[in-house]
């Protein structure tokens, strides 16, 4: 589904990714863990196409396409979803307006008909229900005045509505209380646990992985994957720390 080969990336002349290799097949959930500054968020941003990062070597093939050749909005239309660690507030633009524009832009890019207002709202209500987010919140401006937990749940509602093939979730578990963590975990499973979809979970903690059980866990350090293993690797990291496991 996605194959990252020898990826090197830097920002402002500072090398962050140093030959990262990673392959996620359809039907799989992979988790990336790693110490602060290892390059986890950079990986997410580079895959999403955030301006400012320079890719100096390597390739990313997503669903048979050269991902790095696509503009950010084209990557989304191709089925890539980036869950933000810090979802962005957009005053004056309601969630409903934002998401309908997003969904119909993606559909248009794929040659599909736009969804009518009524059908869109039905879909939005269904996904908001799944994440137990009040539909009224979707009428408010994007992320404005949302608590940390509400922002993360709103991200998952967006993911549900946009129905991507592959999701990169950058610390979607940070800022969530215990109940919200479970709701978000179940939401990820309901939306993305399918044979034709894949997920890359970036996280600091083992606890989200109790709900979204990864097929493979990778340790990212100094810009490359230094160790991979099964779900038990996350437990090992939690118990012994990165230093002990990576050494």
């Amino acid at each position: 589904m996605i194959e990252i080969t020898n990826l090197h990336a830097e920002i402002d002349g500072k090398k962050i990714l140093n030959g990262l290799n990673l392959r996620v097949d359809a039907g799989q959930v992979h988790a990336i863990m790693g110490p602060n500054g290892a390059g986890k968020s950079t990986l997410a941003y580079v895959l999403g196409g955030r301006p400012g990062y320079e890719i100096t070597a390597g390739s990313v093939v997503f669903d048979g396409q050269d991902l790095l050749a696509l503009d950010p909005h084209e990557r989304a239309a191709a089925g890539l979803f980036l869950g933000f660690q810090y979802p962005v507030e957009i005053p004056g633009v309601s969630n409903v307006q934002f998401l309908r524009e997003a969904l119909n832009s993606q559909r248009k890019a794929r040659g599909e008909d736009p969804l009518s207002g009524g059908d869109f709202l039905k879909l939005a209500r269904e996904k908001a229900g799944l994440l137990r987010l009040d539909m009224d919140m979707l009428k408010r401006p994007v992320n404005v005045g949302f608590s940390g937990g509400e922002k993360k749940r709103a991200e998952m509602v967006q993911m549900g509505i946009l129905d991507p093939k592959f999701a990169i979730l950058d610390e979607t578990d940070s800022g969530l209380d215990i109940d919200a963590l479970r709701i978000v975990g179940e939401g990820i499973n309901a939306i993305m646990r399918r044979p034709d979809k894949g997920v890359l979970l970036i996280t600091h903690y083992q606890r989200l992985l109790d709900y979204v059980r990864p097929d493979v866990v990778h340790v990212l350090a100094a810009g490359r994957i230094v160790k991979s293993g099964g779900a038990e690797l996350a437990l090992e990291l939690e118990r012994d720390g990165y230093e002990a496991v990576v050494a």
């Binding site: 832009s105 890019a109 946009l162």
Partner: protein, 265 residues
């Protein structure tokens, strides 16, 4: 008729104007003040869309009677110099509302000039101006508020924000407050910024193309200017008029969906 003298850059009120364009305005237009009298307790509302291709000067003088209300909303988006001037005299307890948007590119100068006299106590005024420019365009707002000595309990607010999409664009705000009463509230603010890059990336990451994202963000930015306009259709018409200069890029009717969302809650 007295001999006509064109304004020069030495006139404070005209210092940001486009003098080449002023030369092409007929002398009669400088004297073409439109007079409006708003009787006590009544409301007068008018809106302007200055979207022409030749220099345009509109001058409006409004007297608002006791407890009356005047509301002016304007889009200044033409491809040549345009200037809307509004002079208002507020009697006791009267209110003046102004919402204006200058928007556009080229090398065009677009400006609003307001002069508000709080001539009696307890009058209020509220002005919201947004300027969105690109290329070498300029947006100006010159706003004078005068509070006479006896006009206690005056409440006047003036809020200007500029959004510059290109390095060569500019916006000028010149608030001028003359206050001779001591028990008054006069608030004014001015800020200039650029499009939020993170918001643009966030929108792109959800599949929204850059030109559509820009239009949504500009729409959100200028919407404040017309928020006080109670007629939703009118509000929409002015927003559309302003956004027309950005090209036709928005999918569907955004407000449609918002209205639907309200019904099905």
């Amino acid at each position: 008729m007295s001999s006509f003298v064109r304004p020069t850059w030495k006139d404070e009120e005209w210092r940001y104007a486009d003098f080449g364009a002023l030369d092409r305005i007929e002398p009669a237009d400088f004297d073409g003040w439109r007079q409006v009298d708003v009787p006590a307790g009544e409301t007068f509302r008018d809106s302007f869309v200055l979207d022409g291709t030749t220099p345009d000067l509109r001058r409006l003088r409004i007297q608002v009677g006791e407890g009356g209300r005047a509301e002016i909303f304007a889009v200044n988006s033409g491809s040549d110099y345009a200037r809307l001037e509004v002079e208002v005299r507020l009697a006791r307890g009267a209110h003046f509302q102004f919402g204006g948007v200058t928007i556009g590119g080229g090398e065009t100068v677009r400006e609003f000039v307001t002069r508000i006299a709080h001539a009696e106590p307890e009058a209020t005024s509220d002005q919201v101006i947004r300027a969105v420019h690109w290329n070498q365009a300029t947006g100006n707002f010159l706003g004078r508020i005068e509070v006479v000595r006896d006009a206690q309990k005056t409440d006047a607010a003036q809020d200007f924000k500029g959004l510059l999409l290109d390095r060569g664009a500019s916006a000028n705000a010149r608030p001028e407050l003359e206050i001779y009463a001591d028990d008054v509230k006069c608030a004014h603010g001015a800020a200039i910024g650029q499009l939020d890059e993170m918001a643009r990336f966030y929108m792109a990451a959800r599949g929204i193309a850059p030109d559509v994202a820009k239009k949504l963000l500009v729409r959100a930015f200028i919407a404040d200017a017309f928020a006080a306009l109670e007629d939703d259709d009118q509000q929409e018409r002015l927003l559309d008029a302003a956004l027309a200069v950005l090209g036709d890029t928005l999918e569907g009717d955004a407000l449609d969906v918002i209205a639907l969302a309200g019904e099905t809650a």
